[in-house]
């Protein structure tokens, strides 16, 4: 039986309450009659034999590329870059797809007598991963044989000795990336394409770049004009990355891109109710919901967080493609859309969504208020193609506790950003011009980024820019169940109950509004026709 496609439910009197993520817990909310709930398509069937599929992809590349085995030769310098922990979400059950791919690549390289192999985690300005995290992504075998020899590295965007400036694009953008990767005979990039934003030229041009290079597309102007940044063809973020990618290619950097796609089999059996439509919950699902929701509610946030972050996702491989970057990515995007796209007709006045405990930047950590903002206004708001789900001047209602909690090891500059920058202004352009440079060049943040496990000092700014398009588009944002003081600092309103939130929303959009709920998990992308 093939998986059912996405589905749009119109709420009537008999509709059971709708499930909302609410940080480290859930809410069940009864939506007004006539509201639309967008359910994602069911998980695509996985590839039957992933190992063979990977082997076959390496040997049958797409685009202008030879099979991997013919690109490998003794005495060559080989660099294998891979996506970091921000993908997939949650982290997948072992073995991680990157481990499967890299093991095969390494076997092949070994068989061809390649000795000089270096692995580099494509961190961009993300935090350095811990040993446990690297072991999870790469597996013990790869970790143990590379880490001790110093051949397992994590990209350091602040290491002048390992960066190379490859030139300027025709728009004057600096292209500066990891020197070892750029000067290798072959750069293999291993990706996990969880959402349509990932992959393609963005892998190398962003993942292995320096701050000097990143700032050309990670800025307010670009983000406001990426409508959406999940839709490559209408995203200036991607146009810039594509220009850079082509320059990298022209500079002689030989890239063999391996992209993988996963289905949306996001949660293990014990949480299977999360993947089902509420009216299809059976007794077991109901029991599981009541049990887990009560337990999470009764636990202190740190304990709920610990429990949830220990969940490993049973994601399955739905596609693996290798070869020339653009050709590979075309195939990948088709796969992603096939899994995630849901056709929607017409925009809504009010868009509601529940925000989960996890986003790309808080794996094994706290979803701080700035990340709440980014997940809602950056990621989920932009999960559209065509026009946004919510009309211009409409209202976004997010459900999340939004406590003033920060991880001082992973997010040190976020604390100062929240305390000092947001206290002054929430306007992205003002923030960018007034504060970005100081944070980006701050020696203490750079020190913590390079030697500790901290996100780069400028990272919270990028989070804020990520939501710039939404801020520009929306009439108001309401955080349901959010800590009022913290929410206020973000520049939003908080509401205790959904009916309060709806009443507040009506002050902005007028009476009898239309309402659409983006149901997650799992992920979906709305293909909105105006």
């Amino acid at each position: 039986m093939s998986p059912r496609p996405g589905f749009i439910l119109e709420v009537d009197k008999s509709t059971p309450p709708t499930l909302f993520w609410h940080g480290e817990g859930f809410r069940l909310e009864r939506l007004p009659t006539g509201s639309r709930v967008i359910y994602p398509p069911e998980a695509q069937p996985p590839l039957k034999d992933p190992l063979t599929a990977i082997y076959s992809a390496l040997e049958n590349p797409v685009g202008d590329s030879s099979p991997l085995s013919s690109l490998l030769f003794p005495d060559m310098r080989l660099t294998i870059a891979f996506d970091d922990l921000s993908l997939p979400l949650p982290s997948m059950q072992s073995p991680d797809v990157r481990q499967l791919v890299i093991e095969q690549v390494l076997d092949l390289a070994a068989s061809k007598g390649v000795d000089d192999v270096v692995l580099v985690a494509a961190l961009a300005l993300h935090r350095r991963m811990t040993e446990t995290e690297l072991r999870h992504i790469l597996g013990d075998r790869v970790y143990d044989s590379f880490a001790k020899m110093g051949r397992l590295t994590q990209h350091d965007a602040e290491d002048p000795s390992n960066l190379i400036h490859l030139g300027l694009t025709d728009k004057g953008e600096d292209v500066e990336i990891n020197k070892r990767a750029a000067t290798s005979d072959l750069l293999i990039y291993v990706n996990v394409n969880l959402v349509s934003m990932d992959g393609g030229h963005k892998s190398v041009a962003t993942g292995l770049a320096s701050y000097k290079s990143l700032r050309h597309h990670h800025n307010v102007k670009t983000m406001v004009h990426s409508k959406s940044f999940m839709d490559r063809d209408n995203s200036q973020l991607h146009s810039s990355n594509w220009r850079m990618g082509r320059l990298i290619k022209d500079a002689g950097v030989k890239i063999f891109q391996i992209e993988t796609t996963l289905n949306t089999n996001t949660f293990p059996d014990s949480f299977s109710f999360l993947q089902k439509r509420e009216w299809e919950w059976n007794i077991r699902d109901r029991a599981a919901f009541v049990a887990s929701s009560t337990a999470l509610q009764k636990s202190p946030p740190w304990l709920s967080r610990k429990v949830l972050h220990s969940i490993r996702s049973p994601y399955q491989l739905t596609g693996v493609t290798a070869g020339e970057v653009e050709a590979v990515h075309d195939v990948t995007i088709k796969n992603v859309y096939k899994q995630q796209l849901v056709e929607v007709h017409g925009q809504t006045d009010i868009l509601t969504m529940g925000l989960p405990y996890i986003g790309p930047y808080n794996v094994n950590s706290i979803m701080n208020p700035v990340l709440v903002y980014c997940l809602g206004l950056g990621y989920f708001f932009n999960m559209y193609r065509g026009v946004p789900l919510v009309r211009k001047g409409g209202v976004l209602i997010l459900s999340h506790p939004t406590r003033r909690e920060f991880d001082p090891t992973f997010h040190p500059s976020y604390i100062d950003f929240f305390d000092n920058v947001l206290a002054d202004t929430t306007n992205p352009l003002e923030i960018e011009s007034k504060y970005e440079n100081a944070f980006a060049t701050d020696p203490w943040y750079i020190h913590l980024y390079r030697t500790g496990h901290a996100y780069h000092g400028v990272h919270p700014f990028y989070m804020w820019y990520w939501g710039a398009h939404a801020l520009d588009h929306l009439g108001a944002v309401i955080i349901l169940g959010g800590d009022p003081k913290t929410v206020h600092r973000l520049g939003f309103m908080s509401a205790t109950t959904m009916s309060d939130a709806l009443e507040m929303a009506q002050n902005v959009v007028g009476p009898d509004p239309t309402l659409t709920h983006l149901h997650s998990p799992p992920l979906l992308m709305a293909d909105v026709k105006a």
Partner: protein, 776 residues
């Protein structure tokens, strides 16, 4: 006319910096244009007699009217009429130089107003000033006149007190004490001798090993492990205070044993006696005011100087601290406005001495226009009900009902409360708490201090509210009646003229409230503005250096955690648990060692690193920093260091922690001064520090050295620390900041007005119960 009689006269005044003295000088300057004033003033520690007169007398708002009327001529008038004379009344001959002695010999009137007016003066001090002072003045005048051959008339007016009558009931006449029925035969010379001997005795007793041990314990209890110099200074301060207290007690004891309520009245009475022995050599008048309070009319209604007897009681009551004050409702409280006393003195001076002298004038209200205690209390109550004071939260303070309890009951109630609070304070002081909870203890201490001071008032002034003596003022009224109509208008001192209700409600209470600097409007939290002011000073670009302690100032961790984490980092799981248990068992003894001597405590931990490999510790420390220290850090503290840096201040960390642990923190500070372990020939650590652990007083000297090497001013520097062991460091800088202070430090910080920061760890992280090393 008074003006004519005193015109052209030279008047020598002692005690002109006091409340009455200031009023007298002003009155003379303003009303007797032709007189010259010679003001005997003791030079201050850093100022000359002239400077003191400028600062303490002429700058006083008492002279506002004169300054206004004279305008530009004020300075000229002062220079030409006021002549500072450097000297004091506690030395024989008044410590005058020849020139000043000659000036003194030519004076026409001597007004001796200098006194030790505090009711709780140490015995010998009261004796020197109040008992010997008047006689010394008389002797100095007589000797000077003889030496310079001056024979013109002279008149010595000595200001005494109506309470020389002591604790006696009934009418108190205006007669020398020896002629009253209250007289008691006391030889003032042996009293002086005994008083002087008492100090030597008390000093000797203060050096008794048992007493010294008490000081040591008290200092240690108050300051903790603050280091030898600080503790020693505190002990000596305690000893000096003890001597002072013992001398005060000796004064009260002696006074009460011979029928006076306190040392003040006792020494004043004997002072009269000693002075009057000279009455054959110099004509003497004695003026005995009762309790002098705010001016009724001049220089302006309500003018008052200093916080006097009734004021602290009234304010304590209005603040709700003093719930009850003992007194007899129908008793008379004898109060007299200062301008009446000053006017009476001028009138006595103008009239000249009686022959034979002495003539005695009592300036008191009780016999002619009595103010009943119940009336006073009633006015005070209703006034504060209409004009309440406000607490820190902007809430009006409720006035307690005054039930006129006996003194004994109030005293025992207060004593019980004080004892209870003291016990509570001690008990909670031993708990290992800090931050906001420590503030609670400071509150207890504040309450106790309030109760103690209330108790002090009751002990000291209680008798004055219970005095039954009525002071006769026949001489005073006789003098008043002899005045012309114009003089009566300008020099009014008839107590019958006081309208008590308007005096209390419209003159005195507004003035008292103004002087007490209490909150009279419901604005919220002036404390906050003080905090902001402090913070602005701390974060001013003018500062030079910001120095930080590490443990519990920047990071809520200590050397024990560090050692435990690093030691268990590479142990198998089971052994980790064992290790943790073992360390937990050692906890109390470690805590005790830390309290006793921080240096020894640190050394005991340095020793544990013996045989460790530097490279490995360095690597593990990096992980310790990310997995433990940062999670336990105070983000606000890190932000503050960075803020100082951005303001151009030099930032320095001084800590007993080891260098390899601090390596990851290096970029945060400009400099770090910490402990370093010696490395042996085998390349392993030896478990010994290369230098003395930078703790306690060592920290202060390290800081001083650092500052001078970098040409930074300590007075322009800021120090952040959390415990009393950091006191030496906090005390040497201009801007000390206490971070999450432990109770003892919180109490000290409050007293000295130091800035306090309450910084907390990042919220939302799992609690770390045991410092066990794990990889991230």
């Amino acid at each position: 006319m008074i003006v004519d009689r005193l015109s052209g006269k030279a008047i020598f005044i002692t005690g002109s910096t006091g409340f009455l003295g200031t009023a007298l000088v002003e009155k003379l300057l303003r009303t007797i244009p032709g007189c010259q004033l010679f003001l005997l003033t003791r030079p201050g520690k850093t100022s000359t007699a002239t400077e003191r007169i400028q600062k303490e007398i002429l700058k006083n708002d008492c002279f506002d009217i004169l300054r206004k009327t004279l305008g530009d001529r004020f300075e000229n008038e002062i220079v030409s009429r006021i002549h500072p004379i450097s000297g004091d009344v506690i030395s024989d001959g008044l410590n005058l130089d020849e020139h000043d002695r000659e000036l003194l010999s030519h004076c026409d009137v001597i007004i001796h107003s200098a006194a030790s007016v505090s009711f709780d003066s140490p015995l010998d001090q009261a004796v020197e000033v109040n008992l010997c002072g008047p006689r010394r003045v008389a002797e100095a005048v007589i000797a000077a006149r003889k030496d310079f051959g001056v024979t013109k008339p002279i008149h010595l007016i000595a200001i005494s007190t109506a309470y020389v009558a002591g604790r006696r009931r009934g009418l108190s006449p205006e007669l020398p004490l020896s002629e009253t029925p209250f007289s008691i035969e006391l030889d003032w010379r042996s009293e002086v001798k005994a008083a002087r001997g008492t100090r030597a005795d008390v000093d000797l007793r203060s050096r008794d090993p048992k007493i010294l041990e008490q000081f040591r314990k008290k200092a240690a209890n108050e300051l903790g492990a603050a280091g030898v110099p600080v503790l020693v200074a505190k002990q000596e301060k305690l000893r000096t205070q003890w001597i002072h207290d013992e001398m005060v007690r000796a004064g009260i004891a002696r006074a009460t044993s011979v029928g006076w309520p306190d040392a003040y009245a006792y020494t004043k009475a004997l002072g009269e006696k000693a002075l009057l022995e000279k009455q054959d050599e110099i004509p003497i008048s004695i003026i005995r005011p009762s309790i002098i309070e705010s001016a009724m009319l001049e220089p302006r209604p309500g003018w008052i100087r200093g916080f006097r007897m009734a004021e602290p009681i009234i304010i304590s009551y209005a603040r709700g601290l003093l719930k009850e004050f003992p007194g007899v409702p129908e008793g008379v409280i004898d109060v007299i406005p200062v301008d009446m006393v000053a006017a009476a003195i001028v009138a006595v001076a103008a009239q000249g001495p009686r022959d034979p002298s002495p003539e005695i004038f009592q300036v008191a209200s009780g016999s002619r226009n009595p103010l009943k205690y119940a009336t006073l209390v009633n006015h005070v109550r209703t006034w504060f009900q209409e004009h309440p004071l406000y607490d820190a939260d902007g809430q009006p303070i409720m006035i307690p009902d005054w039930s006129f309890p006996g003194r004994g009951r109030v005293q025992s109630q207060l004593e019980k409360t004080s004892k209870f609070l003291q016990a509570l304070e001690q008990a909670t002081g031993m708990l290992p708490i800090r931050g906001n909870q420590a503030e609670f203890i400071v509150d207890i201490e504040k309450k106790r201090q309030a109760v103690d001071s209330a108790l002090g008032y009751v002990e000291l002034y209680g008798t004055y509210a219970e005095t039954d003596a009525i002071f006769k003022i026949d001489n005073l009224i006789g003098l008043y009646d002899s005045l012309s109509k114009e003089d009566k208008a300008q020099f009014s001192f008839d107590p019958a003229l006081i309208h008590w209700e308007s005096f209390i409600r419209e003159v005195h209470l507004p003035s008292v409230v103004e002087h007490a600097r209490v909150k009279t409007t419901p604005t919220k939290r002036p404390a906050k503005s003080r905090t902001n002011r402090n913070l602005n000073l701390i974060l001013s670009p003018d500062r030079h250096l910001a120095v930080f302690d590490l443990e519990n100032t920047i990071i809520s961790s200590n050397v024990v955690d560090t050692y435990a984490w690093l030691a268990t980092r590479r142990l198998p799981k089971f052994q980790k648990a064992l290790f943790a248990m073992n360390l937990a068992l050692q906890g109390p003894s470690l805590l005790a060692l830390d309290r006793k001597d921080r240096g020894d405590f640190l050394r005991s931990f340095y020793r544990k690193y013996e045989g460790a490999r530097p490279q490995r510790l360095e690597k593990d420390s990096q992980e310790f920093f990310n997995a433990y220290l940062l999670k336990k850090s105070f983000p606000a503290a890190i932000e503050r260091v960075r803020r100082h840096k951005s303001l151009g201040h030099k930032t320095l960390l001084i800590t007993g922690a080891l260098d390899f642990v601090l390596e990851p923190l290096k970029p945060l500070f400009d400099d770090i001064i910490c402990a370093e372990l010696e490395v042996g020939d085998n390349g392993l650590y030896k478990g010994r520090s290369l230098s003395i652990p930078p703790t306690g007083e060592a920290r202060a000297s390290i800081l001083a050295k650092y500052a001078s090497e970098h040409s930074l001013e300590l007075s322009e520097s800021i120090a952040y620390a959390d415990s009393t062991s950091d006191l030496p460091m906090l005390e040497v800088v201009g801007y000390p900041v206490c971070v999450n202070p432990e109770p003892k430090l919180a109490a000290i910080a409050r007293k000295r007005g130091w800035h306090i920061e309450q910084w907390s760890k990042a919220q939302g992280l799992p609690p770390i119960y045991l410092p066990i090393g794990r990889s991230m």
